[in-house]
């Protein structure tokens, strides 16, 4: 497991659990997504404050985050969250795994959350991150998760 870095701001130590936050492309991606959607900013801040590590995908559509905490089984954690807005005022949070086969374009859905507001409860974001960290364990499903999530999801 990659050790988390510590960012020092004045005398306070802040754990930065988006492991690749200092990558210039990732930093720019987080800035742009946070600017475009206040909910993305909330999620990034929650991930930074979370006890478990995450990484942000710089090349994805929307804000895409992958859990980096290994699973109890020893297998790598494949859980991903994608947050995007199909239209202003409408945000979708999609939970999925990518295929293990390098050439496959398939994605494995675990459902999603449909948000029609620009505000969100911090506890709800914590649920999402815990769901990711667990590798999508059924007992960690967020309360508002819609398993049938019939939206076209961009890559």
């Amino acid at each position: 497991m990659t050790a988390c870095r510590v960012r020092r701001s004045g005398s306070a130590a802040t754990r930065v659990m988006i492991l690749n936050r200092t990558d210039p492309q990732v930093a720019e991606k987080i800035r742009l997504e946070s600017q475009a959607n206040p909910l993305a900013k909330i999620v990034c801040e929650a991930a930074d404050a979370a006890p478990d590590p995450f990484e942000v995908e710089a090349s994805a559509t929307g804000l895409e985050m992958q859990a980096r905490a290994p699973l109890r089984t020893g297998l790598s954690n494949r859980a991903r969250l994608k947050m995007f807005s199909p239209k202003p005022g409408h945000t979708l949070v999609f939970f999925y795994k990518k295929s293990l086969v390098p050439y496959s374009r398939d994605r494995y859905s675990y459902g999603g959350v449909d948000l029609r507001t620009q505000q969100i409860d911090a506890a709800e974001v914590s649920e999402w991150l815990a769901f990711l960290t667990s590798g999508f364990h059924p007992e960690k499903r967020p309360a508002k998760l819609r398993r049938a999530f019939p939206y076209e999801i961009p890559e």
């Binding site: 297998l75 293990l100 496959s104 994605r107 494995y108 859905s109 398993r147 049938a148 999801i153």
Partner: protein, 440 residues
């Protein structure tokens, strides 16, 4: 719903001889396979596409054999597959499945991706999002997901991932003209003979929704047509669909044991009823003749004796058993359940062979229908005892296959169909199993 203890792989006996193609097929369904970096699947294979209940999430391979080649959709994405003793390798241009327990090597081939997978229909829809090859037939999920997933609380089948797929990997609503174009491409370029339509629960409009697709493909393309839908006791609808060109019905009742049916299939239990599956299967099997319809079950979850009873029941009414080896697919409620034990599944498929033989169910008589998602009854000929009964059955099937060639050629021609694709009951209200209706 906690999963049972994981099947203990350590106590499984390691084969001391090479497995037959059917035995290997069964073991691959049970254990899955890892893909070695030597493989060049992006150049050689059909891309993996999860559709329907998620069973198609594996890698399609073909195991050559003296009786027949066996098509298998091998699990590669699930957690259990990552711990498999089987590994797919590419050595000197030849693919092989290696059993790392004793280093046995099985030569296999990888079916190439059809050219039409990368094309779009004239409406601009990617063809692979309309239908995919599963073995040598075209599978099309026709409707917008499954109604069981939209109940609150959800009533989805616990092994199923259908509600998780649509919209993510597939087009949610299939256009009839798109379906016709894809079926035509699959027939012309992939020699497809059979188009299989499947749907989740459509609130008692399941058969009505399918009708336009059946008529369009039968009349404009020409192919054998199969339907796998939630059943109804309005039997006149089956008559109408046969008029429109349906050649085959399959009924996924999954578990023979009523307690397992109720526990794992809450939607089917509450909104349909196990008896509806039985009555519809019995009606259509009688109507279309021996071997034309199938009862679909899952092996590896309910007790073995119930699976054997299911096989006896299905073959006893003249249908063929479609037995899926339980696959804990990604995202399903049962994702964390263990995959079945090979030794148990061997018992099941030996029984499939014996039950088909005793009831003279035709095996592999239809042209070019190889199903990769299940162990086909025809594959179980590799498990047959070497006695005169098996030889006699094999001879009868070989003869039936030859005699059926002109019949299936005629059945696969585009037909002029006068019947309407809007299903309306006959003047007398139509045949309905009224004695059973009150039980739903």
């Amino acid at each position: 719903m906690a999963p049972p203890a994981t099947a203990d792989r350590a106590v499984e006996s390691v084969p001391t001889r090479s497995l037959s193609p059917c035995e290997l097929e069964i073991d691959l369904f049970c254990k899955g396979m890892r893909i070695d970096p030597s493989c060049a699947l992006e150049e050689d294979a059909r891309f993996i596409s999860r559709t329907r209940a998620g069973l198609g999430s594996g890698l399609e391979i073909v195991i050559p054999g003296p009786i027949k080649d066996v098509w298998v959709n091998v699990p590669v994405e699930e957690d259990f597959a990552q711990q498999s003793c089987y590994r797919l390798v590419l050595e000197s241009g030849q693919y092989a499945v290696v059993d790392e327990r004793q280093n046995f090597r099985y030569a296999v081939s990888i079916p190439p991706e059809p050219a039409w997978y990368t094309r779009t229909t004239s409406r601009g829809t990617p063809m692979h999002k309309v239908g995919v090859l599963q073995g040598t037939y075209l599978g099309i999920y026709i409707s917008n997901s499954c109604g069981f997933w939209y109940h609150s609380p959800a009533l989805n089948c616990k092994f199923c991932a259908t509600g998780l797929n649509v919209g993510v990997n597939e087009v949610a609503v299939k256009d009839v003209d798109d379906v016709v174009e894809v079926a035509r491409a699959a027939k012309e370029e992939s020699a497809v003979t059979f188009v299989h339509f499947n749907s989740g629960y459509q609130t008692e409009r399941d058969l009505d929704v399918a009708a336009p697709y059946v008529k369009a493909v039968k009349s404009r393309v020409g192919a054998l047509i199969g339907l796998q839908l939630i059943p109804t006791l309005d039997f006149w609808k089956y008559d109408r669909l046969i008029d429109l060109g349906t050649d085959h019905f399959s009924f996924c009742y999954e578990f023979h044991n009523p307690e397992y049916f109720a526990r794992f299939l809450p939607g089917k239990q509450q909104l349909v009823g196990q008896h509806t599956f039985f009555r519809a299967l019995e009606y259509t099997a009688k109507k279309l003749g021996k071997g034309a319809c199938s009862g679909e079950i899952i092996a590896g979850v309910e007790p073995l004796e119930d699976t054997l009873k299911a096989i006896d029941y299905i073959t006893g009414i003249g249908a063929f058993p479609t037995v899926c080896i339980f696959r804990p697919t990604i995202g399903a409620d049962m994702e964390h359940w263990p995959s079945p034990r090979y030794a148990d599944m061997l018992v099941v498929f030996r029984h499939v062979y014996e039950a088909c033989r005793k009831n003279s169910i035709p095996l592999d008589v239809t042209p070019n229908i190889e199903v990769s998602l299940i162990v086909q009854p025809g594959d179980t000929r590799y498990l047959a005892p070497r006695d005169w009964r098996s030889r006699w059955y094999g001879l009868k099937m070989a003869l039936a296959k030859q005699l059926a060639v002109p019949y299936f050629w005629w059945k696969r021609r585009p037909k002029r169909i006068a019947a309407s694709d809007v299903l309306t009951p006959p003047a007398n209200g139509g045949l309905r199993d009224a004695t059973q209706a009150s039980q739903t």
